[in-house]
């Protein structure tokens, strides 16, 4: 990570968070992470990607670490909004599973997991996000299980972990071109969900 602007004292004027430029920079960072990997994420690459001067990046973000954290936070809040919608639907278990399998951005998740191991401020946000998402899912799944009047030996906690873990592995391996056993596991899980939430 380049940190050339890091030692500048803080009181300088900063570009406003949430402005068009700010969003454009996060878009650029997301694109670079997904397409080229965290190793290529520099202020220069972001500036080039969105066609601004490199210095402008440091007008909006004190450091590249800050830009990475903001990129993650924006992504996380977007995902949480979608998850809340799914949790409130008529068939929350199906809709949560649907989100997990169809829109899991395995590439971005892997990049952020790798980055979290090297960047303590990011790690805090990654942990918070995964825990928030899990709590929402557990709450919705517990309610759905109770409503259905059906039970298994699985608690809602472990059902949530099973399903999200499976979705992530399917997405990640799909990226690698591995598909062995994917369909079978998917149908086992959808069969299970159908017991709780019949069509």
């Amino acid at each position: 990570m380049d940190m050339d602007a890091e030692d500048k004292p803080t009181e300088r004027r900063m570009g406003p968070a949430g402005s068009d430029n700010w969003h454009a920079m996060l878009d650029g960072a997301e694109y670079i992470l997904r397409e080229q990997g965290y190793a290529c994420l520099t202020s220069r690459a972001v500036a080039e990607r969105i066609g601004v001067k490199q210095r402008l990046v440091y007008y909006y973000f004190r450091t590249m670490d800050e830009l990475i954290v903001e990129t993650f936070r924006r992504l996380a809040s977007r995902e949480l909004v979608r998850l809340r919608v799914a949790c409130q639907s008529d068939r929350p278990m199906h809709d949560i599973w649907d989100i997990c399998t169809h829109s899991t951005d395995a590439r971005l998740i892997t990049e952020f997991m790798a980055l979290a191991n090297h960047l303590p401020p990011l790690r805090v946000h990654v942990i918070a996000y995964i825990e928030d998402a899990r709590l929402l899912q557990i709450e919705a799944v517990t309610a759905a299980m109770n409503r259905s009047g059906t039970s298994t030996h699985l608690t809602s906690d472990s059902l949530v972990l099973l399903a999200t873990g499976a979705a992530l592995l399917l997405a990640r391996e799909g990226q690698l071109g591995v598909s062995m056993g994917h369909q079978q596991l998917e149908s086992a899980i959808t069969d299970l969900l159908a017991r709780f939430e019949p069509a």
Binding site: M113, A116, G149, S158, L161, A166, L176, V178, G181, H182
Partner: protein, 222 residues
Amino acid sequence: MSDLPNAPRKKRAAPKPSAKPKARRFGTEQSSTRTVILDAAEKVIIEEGYAAVTTRRIAERAGIKAPLVHYYYKTIDDLLTAVYRRGAEQSLQRHAEAMSRGDLLRALWEVNADPERTALAIEFMAMANHRKFIREEIARYAEQIRAIQVVALTRHFRERELPEKPFAALPLTVMLASVARSLVMEDGVGIHLGHSETRQAIEAFLDSYPGDLTGLFGDPVT
């Protein structure tokens, strides 16, 4: 593990006369230098990330001269591949041992949930997003492991005349792998929410298999 995949393709002049490998006499020295290089690369990947792997950085960590790294691994890609293969070979070895255990389901779970080298695995996964040669290595290895598990499980079921319900061998291996990966990856980052419940549920399922067919995904009690 065989040194073959890493062998320099052509004989080149060694940077130091003392390092020039002569197939037999220096065989051991050659492989110990390789080990030192691979160990150093592994440490750099885990601590600083794969992007930090340069010939110079590895030489520094290994306490050897940079040209020597280059002598054994002509490119960084060769070095990264060798690091990956060494880890994969070791896991395959562990799998082979586990697959002969009588409590196969437990064994399968334990090798899958082995937290060792999780940080390294995440780095390689990130690398695989952008580098084809690593992607191919990981894909090949993942399929190999899965095939080994399926063969062992199928034999296990057959020998004990166990029904394959509630899970056939293939989806069972994928499911165990996915839960185990999630648990160890999250543990590594510091997330533990719901983990102990999940571990308990899986272990209870595996221990009672197939005695309690309602196990994990079994027929619901209405």
